[in-house]
Amino acid sequence: MNGPLLEVADLNVIYKTYEGTVAAVNGVEFSLEAGRTLGLVGESGAGKTTTALSIMGLVPSPPGIITSGSVNFAGKNLLSFSEKEMKKIRGNHISMIFQDPMTSLNPVVTVGVQISEALVAHQNLSEAEAEKKAMEMLEKVQIPGQRYREYPHEFSGGMRQRVVIAMALACNPGLIIADEPTTALDVTIQAQVLELMRSLKEEFSTAMIMITHDLGVVGEVCDHVAVMYAGRIVETGSLEQIFGNARHPYTLGLFRCIPDIEEETSKIRPIEGLMPDPLDLPSGCPFHPRCPQCMDLCRTVVPGVLDDGGHRVMCHLYGKGGAVHG
């Protein structure tokens, strides 16, 4: 197959709430090649999960509306798919792993059934065959196969997340979206689970979108990075480009937040201010209120994107102006 596995273009998602319209995702664009891993980085509320849900077709529909954009997966625009067609994609070609393993699993259904039901639904296996395959999947995530008859409450947090990973990989999807899969886990378990994900990804040659707010995780697992702020992608590039030569002031700020073990300073250096209220986004560049290098232009005009050999930045400091958005 030629071209990227996943191409998201000009994605815009809003939520209509009682208090007003929330602009959750604004003109998001990125692409992902088969077998590669993209790290989607940003603080809480930046729109990362909504982007992921849009790809899956799981944006909660009464408040949420995808106003424009396209999500091309293997050449086809998922946003134009009917619900029935999307069901064939979910769990089958694209899987999603959610954040909290303590609540992501159904407490009254056995772990084995939660894995095998995807197999039964998508691969037309019989119950017995699916059961066998589910046991194999459990072994792959380093859980004894016989435990498939047990219930989620009999597993620890880390093990539950491994079950979730098994569920996601059961049908050998081309893409996995992992939404902060290790955030809710202890640090030592985090490392284990990440390592497991990495090796399985290699084994199955699955592409992955790793949503996280932790740059350390990105450094471990990802090939490419996209930095999100207030519903926009403000910088994107390969791992070397972003980690070695970050350009956008926000990205720089994120890196600065990580205390450097070699430096002598005792202060922690957070980025001043807070993420803007999505009901009332600032005009011009969304980061301008917190940007130490804010210029007059930044307040009124949304910056265009400068592409420098795959390293894209949305910032006036790097040239070309952009269209004015309300």
Partner: protein, 311 residues
């Protein structure tokens, strides 16, 4: 797990004891005199006194209670003052009718209430939801004795297809079942709806949807399994109300059941029947609660594990 249930069974005993104390006190607080009532207004003072001696009414209250209790533990609830038949016999004679009604009412409540609640939740905030919720609310607010009378008017008088009294054919059961079950049906519908709304929001439902399995499977396997637990709880609680409701139902439809027995006994100051009857009702409620607990273990493996771990 057996240990847990034995423990629960043991807890039933103090409650039953408490009930017996309460009902004994209430009954004996009554200003009237059963002996007088029995003998009628023309009785002489000696006749009344001798009857009172006979019935053991002259002994101090705590002694009377002691006698009552020891006998009850032996399975003897005394004799009805009115009919002189053993209370236990009278209860057992009337019990099947009441039990049938209570069970039928419960079945009606679940069969109608559960789907109503599910439908309302699935179509939340649409007119379907509004209609179902309103229907449930109305069922909860309308006095069931009025419903009984109106049903009788409609189905026994205007369009005479159902009998209005008696207890021989299956037709006798239809109206009483509706009357008895309507309130519980409403409660179950409302509880199911709110439980469903709660469950639908849970992460694991989102996970299930993200796997691309059919909507039907998401509903039956993932949602309903979790919805039923609070519904079972409320159904169990309302069983008690249901037992109370039989009083009304039996009165309207002239059914010879336990409810009417107790009410008539209260009127006639036939205290052994009142004591025995209420105690029996409390026992039934206690057993149903135990069954509900058992059902929990079946529905929720976490609770089953808790039971197992209980010492």
């Amino acid at each position: 797990m057996l240990r847990y249930f034995l423990k629960r069974l043991m807890f039933l005993i103090p409650v039953l004891l408490g009930v017996s104390v309460v009902i004994f006190s209430i009954v004996h607080l009554a200003p009237g005199d059963p002996a007088e009532v029995m003998l009628g207004p023309s009785a002489t003072q000696e006749e009344i006194s001798s009857l009172r001696e006979q019935l053991g009414l002259t002994k101090p209250l705590y002694v009377q209670y002691g006698i009552f209790l020891t006998n009850a533990l032996k399975g003897d609830l005394g004799r009805s003052i009115k009919s002189n038949a053993p209370v236990v016999d009278e209860i057992m004679e009337r019990f099947p009718a009441t039990l049938t009604l209570a069970v039928l009412g419960m079945i009606f409540a679940i069969v109608i209430g559960l789907p109503l609640g599910i439908l309302a939740a699935l179509k939340q905030n649409t007119w379907v939801d509004a209609l179902c919720s309103f229907f449930a609310l109305v069922g909860f607010s309308i006095p069931n004795f009025w419903v009984g009378l109106m049903l009788m008017l409609l189905l026994s008088i205007y369009i005479p297809i159902l009998p209005s009294s008696g207890f021989d054919s299956w037709k006798n059961f239809i109206m009483p079942t509706i009357v008895l079950g309507i309130q519980t049906m409403a409660v179950i519908a409302r509880m199911t709806r709110s439980s469903m709304l709660e469950v639908i929001r849970q992460d694991y439902v989102r996970t299930a949807r993200a796997k691309g399995i059919s909507d039907r499977l998401v509903l039956t396997r993932h949602i309903l399994g979790n919805v039923l637990i609070p519904v079972v709880t409320i159904a169990g609680i309302y069983f008690g109300h249901q037992l109370g409701g039989v009083v009304i139902t039996e009165t309207i439809f002239s059914i010879p059941g336990l409810g009417r027995l107790i009410v008539d006994a209260i009127r006639a100051q036939d205290y052994p029947v009142v004591q025995g009857g209420v105690l029996f009702f409390a026992l039934c409620v206690g057993i149903v609660n135990l069954l509900v607990d058992l059902l929990y273990a079946v529905l929720d493996p976490r609770i089953k594990a808790q039971y197992r771990a209980a010492k």
